[in-house]
Amino acid sequence: MSMMEMASPSDATGSTSVPGDLVLVTRPPAFGLPTACPACLPAFLYLRMAAVSFQEQVTAVEPDSEDLPSVEYGENVGFASENGGVVEFLRREKIVDLDAGLSDSEKAELETCKAMMESWVADASAYELWMRDNDRQCKAVYFAQLPWGLVQALDWKQRVAVMQRLGVTPENAAVRSEELYRKAGNAYSALSVLLGDQKFFFNNRPTSLDALVLGHLLFHMKVPFEISTLKGEISKHQNLVNYAESWSKQLLGEDGAPIDAAFQPKVPPPPPPPARAAPAKEKEKPAKKPRSEKDILFKKRAKYFVIAQFVAVLMYVVFAGFEVEGDDEVGDDDE
């Protein structure tokens, strides 16, 4: 699917889209980023690169949800935590697929790089974000809209979970962090070589890898961490820095500059009509048809049988003088 063929006259994201068409649900914006969540930013950039018009919906009270980012398309929803995530959902619903048209060898390379981004780089990124020294930035990313008390509790809970996942304990923090940063550094070197001085990683056109890498680079370059080892690592590769900065201008339209014409959003195809379009009554019937008259009669009889039994038991309870003491016997009747 080629997505640069047209530029709709809209100038702001989602302004022309029909409500309910395509909605991206993300965590709230901060630090000049449209969403300050390292998981949501790549999805946002993916849709921007695909020049698809979408509405943004911010949810600020789910810092521990793995479902974000999610994409809503009519009644259908693609959650990040589900098979393939948002990108796979967009492909399945035939909204956009940036990776279509890549050759097999390119696809292999793309998958390898994505795997590297999602493991080595993502781990190092999570470590840096959740380390104690960057507490203030982390809170701005995840807990900005939560009331006092919940912030502290959730922050603690999440931090423990992240550090446990990364295998970082107070004793091994130094060794483990060095390893995490080394792997991330290696990944940056590999990406830097792959990118060279091209505009995109493959064929001068955006792919899901571009969205993933850009999201990561922009997050670490823009968020003013107290300790930002990764920013230092990134700045060792000038082509990555240039790549991030130029695309940030074109895709996010910073400093008053408009979004690049090639990425002006266009309205996605309308979603399939919801299932309710057909009258509900007609739908109920086919589901019920397989039940034969006999079945229905049997079920009815079974129901009445149960009721009769219940009534019989009840009659017994009432008439056989079965006295239930109830609340009266709160253990005070021993003389």
């Binding site: 789910e62 589900e82 009331p147 009721i307 009534v311």
Partner: protein, 502 residues
Amino acid sequence: MDPREEDEEVEVEMEEDEEEVERGEESSVNLIKSMTQKLATEPVTVRVHDIVIKGNTKTKESVIEAQLRELREVTTMQELLQESVRANARLRALGIFDKCVITLDAGPEELSGTANVIVEVEEVKRPFSGDLGVFSKPETKAWTLEGTVKYKNLGGHAETLDATGCYGLDTTSELSAGVIYPRFKGLPASLSTRVTLLTQDWQRYSSYRERLSGFSVGLVGDNQHDISYNLTWRDLKDPSRCASKSVRRQLGHSLLSAVKYTYKRDDRDSAFRPRRGVAFISTTQIAGLGPDSRLLRFARQEVEVRLAIPLGFANAALNLGVAGGVILPWGPGYKTKPTPISDRFYMGGHSSLLGELKGPSALLGFRTRGVGPSELRRPPVGPTEKGDGEVVAVPKKDTLGGDLAVSGFADFSFDLPMRFFKEYGIHAHTFVCAGNLLPLTGEGASAWSLRNFFSGFRVSSGAGIVIPTKLFRLEVNYCYLLRYQDSDRVKRGVQISLNSPQ
């Protein structure tokens, strides 16, 4: 008249809720006769001079005194006797005494017309108690297993420490612990504090599961008033990932800091089968107390009035009830902010029309949470990809609840003409009930008018048999729907509802 003239010791023993008037020494039948006659015919003035409490080892004297406060205000012997009976009942209700005897003695000789009250108690030897039971929750249509362990009077303040665990298959689990101080600081109310951990599953009706961890403190009045503060951390999740859009927007964490005040009055002659009297309940809740603007902010009010009118034949009575409720957000952006889904009003289900007084919720002929605004759930990922027309499954919906709810009913109950039924209180009734709810906030709140609201009322009628037992009220009803909407989940025909009163 001076009771001292008789040189008489009156002992009121209420072991079996009876009064025994005994004479200490050699008593003459005449003296008793004249005494009782005097008490029966004219007021005998008396004043309580002193209250002596005996037998309490652990329990603080002030706790017992708080239960005896009314005794100090009596002016006649008759009142003193009545109040003694009441005080004894109250002391027993504390559940910390095995035995409790109130003796009325003559006051000091130099003060005529006075009496001394001697309270002898015996504290329980075993302060532990436990309960285990299976309960039915008509509103969620679920059965739960509940267990409670209580420890009474640990600090001598007649307080009850209790820990409760409750488990319902796939639906609810609750752990809570609390302390209750009866007649706290001399107030006619008990102080109750409670820590609760509750998981409630609404996936079947509205695709979400809520986890509540909270703390509440309340003053529960002896009769009509009840005020409480609640601080609860709410976490709404959708583990099935099939929630509709409106429910998805509600997911996440929130903090509730709210004060709730309930005023309740029930002058009806019976909770099971009211035939005369009026009952009224009003509950006001203000949430968002605290300096943090990110707390849940809303105000919720519900009112219910019930009236029972005797008809004068066949034990017949007409019960009328009207209930209404409204919830609105406040603070900046209150016009667009949706109200929390857990605090909205829902209707339908198996609760009886004459059950607990709890605002607009009962509407027979509809399934649990079966009435009102609803939204299509997210379609399952699988079948949409297959054929176009061959989608077999009926699209499921989430009930969203309403911000404004009004319901009413009329119930006519009468005795059946058979002695056998009369003996056991089994009677018949016919009823008509109506109700509607609608959203005022959020996305679902399109323009609404009062006229639309009233024309959208659901109406059902029916008749049935009521079997009152000691523990619950059982109704077997046949429901006939007069008005409903396509989106409602209805339940025609025979319905069984089980209700515990109040």
